[in-house]
Assembly symmetry: C2
Homo-oligomer: 334 residues x 2
């Protein structure tokens, strides 16, 4: 008998989390009787959910709107709402308004609701490995400092600190999970500097050309959308007492080079798919990517039972299952 709230429910991960919760019908072993979905654009109605469903178009930077939402006292809050890295860098005000003030309004609404009558929901905050910036140790350990090189990373790091303090004060029971770069992102190629990690798999799998702007030896830290949803669900279910005041956790991921990605593509979809990757070195993207973390020692998360994808072959197979029902589109185009 639990009520679940998802902010940013219309986003890619939000939609997948919603669909998974609607399908499971349970969270942390308890029946989901109410699901509240909010986003700046109208969230979609998930298929097959029998409980009470609430869909709302709402800006998390509006404290009154957030307070009205929290007044319904959800037991679980997944806080996914955010403007992405590129937008937060291009529009300084908007990034701080959504990614920092939005988080703070949500935490404050929970605290104020709890001041009226006891209330201490589980809050799962989707943070990012963007809280880290080069130079790095290899691998990056759980005690390495937050050194963001973007306003987005700064806003995530600040939100982590707030989630930890509000948890320590027992206003809520929160955890921040730092998601790896999501790969394979479904949908169209976008202009994100990280887009190519997905593009060079997703497009060839669909029989389309893809551009690779960096060299094959670039290493990065990945998780499938399915693994990311798994992290969120696990974070909602586990006992957080052992975390103490240290409520931010780097999620396990798959450290892989572009070359390893490509070899996995070859194994799953053959040489024909690999030939659709066109190398077009881009010095700007190469420079951005050089500042990104490559590999982590995420032992705290592993000890708590968070599990990464086992291989890039698995990431590709999960993509095919989730997006195409396991059909390999390139084989059909051949």
């Amino acid at each position: 008998m639990v009520h679940v709230l998802i902010t940013g429910a219309a986003g890619m991960i939000g939609r997948k989390l919603t669909q998974r919760l609607a399908g499971d019908g349970t969270l942390a072993g308890r029946e989901i009787t109410a699901l509240s979905l909010i986003d700046i654009t109208q969230p979609e109605k998930p298929a097959g959910f029998a409980g009470r469903l609430s869909l709302a178009t709402l800006d998390v930077s509006d404290p009154e709107a957030v307070a009205r939402c929290i007044a319904t006292r959800p037991d679980f809050v997944f806080h996914l709402a955010a403007v992405v890295s590129g937008e937060a860098e291009a529009d300084f005000d908007k990034g701080y308004r959504i990614n920092l003030d939005g988080t703070r309004h949500l935490l404050e609404a929970i605290r104020r609701e709890g001041a009226k009558a006891p209330y201490r929901p589980r809050l799962v905050f989707a943070s990012s490995i963007a809280v880290f910036g080069a130079p790095f140790p290899e691998p990056i350990g759980d005690e390495f400092f937050s050194t963001p090189l973007t306003s987005y990373g700064t806003q995530k790091a600040v939100s982590e600190l707030l989630v930890a303090d509000y948890s320590r004060r027992e206003f809520l029971d929160g955890i921040s999970i730092r998601l790896p770069t999501i790969c394979i992102r479904p949908g169209k190629p976008n202009k994100a500097a990280s887009g190519f990690f997905s593009n060079i798999l997703r497009e060839p799998l669909a029989g389309q050309e893809a551009v690779l702007p960096v060299s094959d030896d670039v290493r990065h830290w990945h998780a499938s959308p399915r693994a990311a949803v798994g992290f969120l669900l696990h974070a909602a279910a586990i006992d957080l007492a052992s975390l103490g005041a240290r409520r931010a956790l780097t999620m396990p991921g798959l450290a892989a080079t572009v070359a390893e990605e490509i070899e996995a593509l070859r194994r799953v979809a053959g040489d024909k798919a690999v030939k659709l990757i066109r190398r077009e070195p881009d010095a700007v993207i190469a420079k951005i990517v050089a500042g990104w973390p490559r590999t982590f020692d995420a032992r705290r998360a592993l000890a708590l039972g968070f599990r990464a994808d086992a291989s890039f072959d698995d990431i590709i197979r999960a993509h095919l299952e989730d997006e195409f029902g396991s059909r390999v589109p390139v084989l059909q185009h051949g």
Copy 2:
């Protein structure tokens, strides 16, 4: 020909910094022609300052008041205003309002001023080793993560992240310096959990009894008020380009046990002074202090030329010089 602004100018460090600047008449090798002092209580007029002086009673949590202050375009901003740890823990709203929103209003006022006409002041933010919380490595290195165990520490850690991001975006040229526990704090004994580090020296030096609530082997990280003022001045003067995006620095300090403090007192003021220390173990204070950092490897700050007190003998001598003109009061009380 520079204009210097100090927030929190009526506080202990603010007053000492003000007096030093007024006495020197220069900062970073340039003549100070204007000095603006703001605090929630009226700052004192410093002795011997020949330039334009502005004293204002102002709450940093009032964005319009802060903007009016920044509209005078100071070249250097020392941001010391804060409510202390105990108060930020007791009054959650006030702590966030002053220590987080206050910093943000100041940074935003600078950014908005710079949007009108080029303006990029040097900002020196007084942070604290309270951004760290146990368990710790020994010593704590420059890349150890911020794990505050208080709302005060959280607010300082958030402010550090903001100073770094606003610096990276070139809205200002900022540095956050994490001050050690200040010892010997002049004035009366207060109820701060850290108070005894100062009390057991200051009171016996004045011929008064002092209570020691922890065991003699407690080790902590100290700086004299004089060293703290030196850090602030040095932070204002050095080139920060080498810091890149990593704008928060742990200041060097003196790692010393209570026993070492007491032996220094004995060397400077004799057994008679030491006998004025009364041992009254306090389990609550002992527990709080056990969560505090003991020693740091502050090599980044050392490489930039920041210098700690050389010994506790020096800390005591600096106290006697600064507060009593080198007279040892206990010897007079004999």
